[in-house]
């Protein structure tokens, strides 16, 4: 079947599977089978660390199997429909329906419609109440902390660190399946496992105005779900061999998780809250894993992944160690995002040992007042010192992240972003060595504040789209005189919908389904996203997007 389809699609290499490092187990020889489903394309999904961890955790068990699936692009999906071919796994190429469990990862609210899309391509009812038997549809990841908009589509949510709970759940499913238990019995048993939320047994309550007022748990199921947490990162199930995609993926490098959690407590940051507490992996373990991964993959870069790697207490000596070990093999070490107050000349000298990948700093706000409001404990001087260090080490391009639409923000705070850029530019010019010819570039990435659940700012409504657009216009005015500075913004309607879904309750479950039926999918992609269809979907159920976002 494959060749005929592959000949007719764009970038067929993403569908072929069988990559170096992929696991191929004998289907008949195992008892429990899960497919990990990433609700976006292969190129994006293969950069996801969570998938690799869970893939490893399950495949490590001889009697269990984990395969992968992704969202096919339109051309492939159309051909599959034409041939009556259901969505398949990348390893055994079996239909998703053949598995005991389908595990979606929730990275981003804008991928929700893709979950429905994949379920439909797999021939599985979109509404959990219409399903019979297996597979169970489970979902975990950061968005599972507000699962309600997906509560009609997902049977079981996994809250917290997933490395052991997926295996535990799959074992339970196998055991009960073999004992002849019904779907409902399996779900009921799952509800007793700490860290699992089974929406079937929870009924949302609404007040007389139709506003959500609380959740009623069925008899005997836990009233409160406590997240799963891996206490010591040295006990992780990190894969020594990583799957090597043939095609270019978003992060084409070794992904090495350095620590989990961040104690900074920035008030807008959901990851900073939900991944607490901070758990650092030992440098010895990291070195051992780095060695195995470099040997097993052949990547030229090791990405040290965490919410804030520069905060890792051993970061400088560890990077010196990695650089001295790997430099002669042409392998560099990269820090994907950097805290300006933890970035030093020492660190700068280590980050650019082999090749100068870009540097990104996130001051988040332009004025000190605003940075204090969001509890981003960064001083202007920290940023200046970091920029000075970077440019004196030969960097010529940096990226600065800012957020607009934050609580208590005024136009002066927007102007302060421009002022800050002006000062940064002056420091860059002063510190750039004379022998570096390349022009200085400062790229601003400006996103709109999205209130997220479990954060101190969760009840702060988002600015209206008009306010956000006005602030964007004003910021453009402010940086216009600065030639080497360029600005790119996040799309305002996308941010608005993100806010609505991030805070929405179960009333959004049918809205989501309607949006999907109206044709919404790949909503995180500008070329697919259609705000009109979403407005229509909300309206059909008597709501507005603004009502949930603001």
């Amino acid at each position: 079947m494959d060749n005929e389809l592959l000949a007719r699609v764009e970038r067929p290499g993403q569908y072929i599977g069988n990559e170096v490092g992929a696991v191929k187990k004998d289907w008949e020889a195992v008892q429990g089978r899960m497919v990990f489903a990433f609700p976006d394309t292969y190129e994006i999904g293969m950069s996801n660390l969570g998938m690799r961890i869970i893939y490893e955790a399950i495949n490590r068990e001889p009697e269990l199997l984990c395969e992968r699936t992704f969202t096919p692009l339109d051309d492939m999906a159309a051909l599959m429909k034409e041939k009556g071919m259901p969505l398949f796994s990348w390893e055994s190429r079996r239909p998703l329906k053949d598995f005991d469990m389908i595990g979606f990862t929730l990275q981003y609210e804008m991928s929700y419609t893709n979950i429905l899309y994949m379920l439909e391509l797999a021939g599985i009812p979109l509404d959990r109440r219409e399903r019979t038997g297996l597979p169970l549809i489970v979902a975990g990841g950061s968005c599972a902390y507000n699962p309600e908009p997906l509560a009609d589509a997902i049977d079981i949510f996994i809250i917290g660190d997933g490395e052991f709970i997926d295996t535990e759940l799959l074992r339970l499913v196998v055991k009960m399946r073999d004992a002849g238990a019904s779907r409902r019995e399996i779900l009921r048993a799952a509800a007793d496992i700490p860290g699992l939320y089974v929406p079937e047994f929870y009924t949302p309550q609404y007040d007389e105005n139709g506003k959500y007022s609380g959740m009623e748990a069925a008899d005997g199921v836990p009233q409160r779900i406590v997240k799963r947490c891996l206490p010591d990162m040295d006990d992780d199930v990190f894969p020594d061999k990583q799957i090597l995609p043939y095609t270019q993926t978003v992060h084409d490098r070794v992904m090495l998780e350095v620590m989990r959690g961040c104690e900074r407590g920035c008030r807008f940051c959901q990851a900073g809250i939900i991944y607490r507490p901070v758990r650092e992996k030992s440098p010895q373990k990291l070195m051992e894993q780095a060695r195995k991964l470099v040997d097993a993959t052949g990547y030229e870069e090791i990405g040290l992944i965490s919410l804030s790697t520069a905060d890792y207490s051993q970061v400088v000596p560890m990077m010196v160690g990695m650089n001295s070990e790997f430099r002669d093999r042409g392998v560099g070490v990269a820090l994907p995002s950097l805290r300006v107050d933890a970035f030093s000349v020492d660190l700068a000298s280590q980050v650019c040992q082999v090749r100068k990948s870009g540097l990104t700093f996130a001051p988040e706000a332009g004025s000190q007042r605003m940075r204090d409001v969001i509890n981003k404990g960064v001083q202007e001087e920290d940023l200046f010192a970091a920029v000075g260090a970077a440019f004196s080490q030969g960097y010529t391009t940096i990226k600065l992240y800012f957020m607009i639409g934050l609580p208590y923000e005024t136009m002066e705070d927007i102007a302060a972003i421009g002022e800050l850029c002006k000062k940064v530019l002056a420091i860059a010019r002063r510190n750039k060595p004379a022998d570096v010819k390349k022009q200085i570039r400062i790229n601003l990435g400006v996103s709109s504040f999205v209130p997220k659940c479990n954060t101190p700012f969760q009840w702060f409504g988002q600015n209206t789209p008009e306010q956000l657009k006005e602030k964007q216009r004003y910021l453009i005015e402010c940086v216009k005189p600065l030639r080497p500075v360029s600005v790119s913004f996040h799309d305002v309607p996308i941010s608005q919908l993100e806010a609505a879904l991030a805070r929405g309750d179960r009333r959004l479950a049918p809205v989501l389904k309607t949006a999907y039926q109206l044709g919404c999918r790949f909503d995180g992609w500008d070329e697919y996203f259609d705000p009109k269809k979403w407005e229509q979907a909300f309206a059909e159920h008597g709501y507005t997007i603004a009502q949930f976002a603001e």
Partner: protein
């Protein structure tokens, strides 16, 4: 200020989960000795090339669906895993020194693709087994020979390609007739659709051969005489639908008709 330095802020996570912040700096066994940054700054410059190996490569099976760039990065990763003494480009961003012949088009298999790999130390042909061991199924070293460091680049040397096309939905006798017609013509204008525009090319000029052979449509062409025809274009002209395309040879042609492999 956060709770690692400033004391507990009472967020409630630790008591609720029964876990604690776990910092390496709190555990002497997990602390690294302070690093001497200055002494480590002396880098050995990446190895420069001392020898050059020319590899004839087969690309088969599902790997034929990879783009040229994908093959390139797959080869790079395999080279690093092989631990052979690679040579790197000199400069800010050192890269493995390797250069390929004509690009591999998506969806085509064959066993006569070419690339040059530079090494930073002498190697033997047996050492290349280490590279083969790291290549995925579907990428196979057919043969490799050391060539002169100053030999012409593959992109300049390789100017001849041969393809075998398996067709369906057609009468091969008619295909053969059409092929003969094309070959007999002085020129064969064809409108090539590009992503943004269309342009008219002459399919005939680069063609050296177009005929039916063992049930397949076979063609040979020069790569340096105008735009080389593409398999799907000749299939369309000859009235067949493509099933499978093999690039059976990439080689060096001289104007007197001689054809040799680029050794």
């Amino acid at each position: 200020m956060d709770c690692r330095e400033g004391g507990c802020t009472g967020c409630g996570v630790c008591p609720a989960l029964g876990v604690k912040n776990m910092l390496c700096s709190d555990d002497p066994a997990r602390v690294l000795p302070p690093a001497d940054i200055t002494s480590r700054m002396k880098q050995t410059p990446p190895a420069a090339a001392v020898c050059r190996w020319r590899v004839r490569l087969a690309v088969e099976g599902p790997l034929m669906w990879l783009s040229h760039l994908d093959l390139l990065s797959t080869m790079e990763k395999a080279l690093r895993r092989s631990k052979l003494p690679l040579a790197f480009t000199q400069g800010f961003n050192p890269h493995i020194q390797m250069s390929w012949g004509p690009a591999h088009p998506v969806g085509i298999y064959g066993d006569c693709e070419w690339l040059d790999i530079m090494f930073g130390a002498p190697i033997t042909v047996a050492d290349l087994d280490k590279l083969q061991a790291q290549l995925p199924d579907g990428m196979r070293i057919v043969e490799a020979r050391e060539v002169d460091m100053r030999a012409a680049a593959l992109m300049a040397a390789v100017n001849y390609a041969e393809y075998r096309l398996q067709l369906t939905d057609c009468d091969m006798a008619q295909v053969a007739e059409k092929a003969a017609e094309v070959m007999a013509a002085e020129s064969w204008p064809y409108t090539r659709k590009l992503p943004k525009e269309s342009k008219t090319i002459d399919l005939r000029a680069p063609l050296l051969k177009l005929m039916v052979e063992d049930g397949a449509l076979v063609f040979a062409c020069r790569l340096d005489k105008g735009s080389a025809p593409r398999p799907q274009e000749l299939a369309a002209v000859c009235g067949g639908k493509l099933v499978k395309v093999q690039r059976s040879m990439l080689a060096v042609a001289t104007d007197d008709g001689g054809i040799t492999l680029p050794w």
